[in-house]
């Protein structure tokens, strides 16, 4: 037969502030709820959740992300192309396949695929969906080997007028 040994554990000494601690928590929760009433609410179980307005906005923005397309326009042939980011000149020589512009377009946008890029001698490549990458791409273009080979390198692709 195995004997169980039970250690005697004395109760901890009473905490004089324990009776009032819950009041502090409750007040804190009320303050948070008041401050967050625009975007948070508490359900019947006391769990925090987003307000319907915030959920709707989130879904709208997710829809926009789903419907967006990240693209890159590449030089179709070697030649001179307009340059909006060059200092002191309005065109730049690009080899075939070099980046002219990064951009984002939304599906269903009127005139999304016109013939403008064809007239400019550019090929349109779909990279992926989601507009946030566009900004990263534009900023990181400065580090691209094809750009570092230039003197001086460009701050952003020739076809991007701005960072956004």
């Amino acid at each position: 037969m195995v004997k169980k040994t039970v250690k005697f554990q004395p109760h901890p000494p009473p905490d004089p502030g324990r009776n009032y601690r819950w009041l502090g928590w409750a007040l804190g929760l009320l303050l948070v709820a008041a401050a967050a009433k625009e975007y948070l609410r508490y359900n019947a179980l006391g769990e925090a959740e987003l307000t319907p307005q915030r959920v709707a906005k989130l879904l709208r923005e997710l829809d926009e992300l789903d419907d967006a397309e990240q693209y890159v326009l590449l030089a179709a042939k070697p030649g001179h192309y307009p340059c909006f980011s060059c200092t002191g000149k309005s065109s730049i020589f690009l080899h075939q396949g070099q980046v002219w512009k990064y951009g984002v377009t939304r599906k269903g946008e009127r005139g999304r695929y016109g013939n403008w890029h064809v007239d400019q001698g550019l090929l349109y490549f779909i990279e992926y969906t989601g507009p946030l990458q566009e900004k990263l791409k534009i900023y990181n273009y400065a580090l691209l080997p094809e750009n570092l080979a230039r003197t001086p390198p460009l701050i952003r692709p020739p076809g991007n007028k701005q960072d956004n």
Partner: protein, 128 residues
């Protein structure tokens, strides 16, 4: 000393692409075809002013998302052919071009010489 300047042929054929990066090589090959066709079109008479061809080169699973972008038209006032078509898997872009030109050629006699030139220069008489 005089220097001869050779001007590029007028760009009657204007090829582009809306392509997934995995089709990059195919898209750039079309640029060479465009040059050949423009050189040949110089010798042709009664030819439309511009022939846009923008194949949509995307993997089969993405193709449905681009179906509503397809357009095949001829504008008589501008003498402009415009072909933007999905290229189904296993089909070459030039086959899509030939089919679209055949379709337009039946409705617009002005387009018939374009199809004939494309077949002669890049597809061969059997149209492959």
């Amino acid at each position: 000393m005089s220097e001869k300047t050779t001007l590029p042929p007028p760009r009657r054929f204007r090829f582009g692409a809306i392509a997934h990066p995995s089709y990059q090589a195919q898209a750039f090959e079309l640029m060479e075809v465009e040059d050949r066709l423009n050189a040949a079109a110089q010798r042709a008479a009664d030819f439309p002013q511009s022939i846009y061809f923008i194949p949509i080169l995307v993997p089969a699973e993405l193709a449905p998302g681009y179906a509503d972008e397809e357009e095949t038209s001829y504008t008589e006032a501008e003498q402009q052919v415009f072909i933007r078509q999905l290229v189904p898997a296993g089909t070459g872009a030039l086959t899509v071009l030939r089919t679209a030109l055949a379709d337009l050629g039946e409705r617009y006699p002005a387009v018939a010489p374009v199809r004939a030139l494309v077949v002669r220069e890049v597809l061969g008489e059997d149209g492959r």
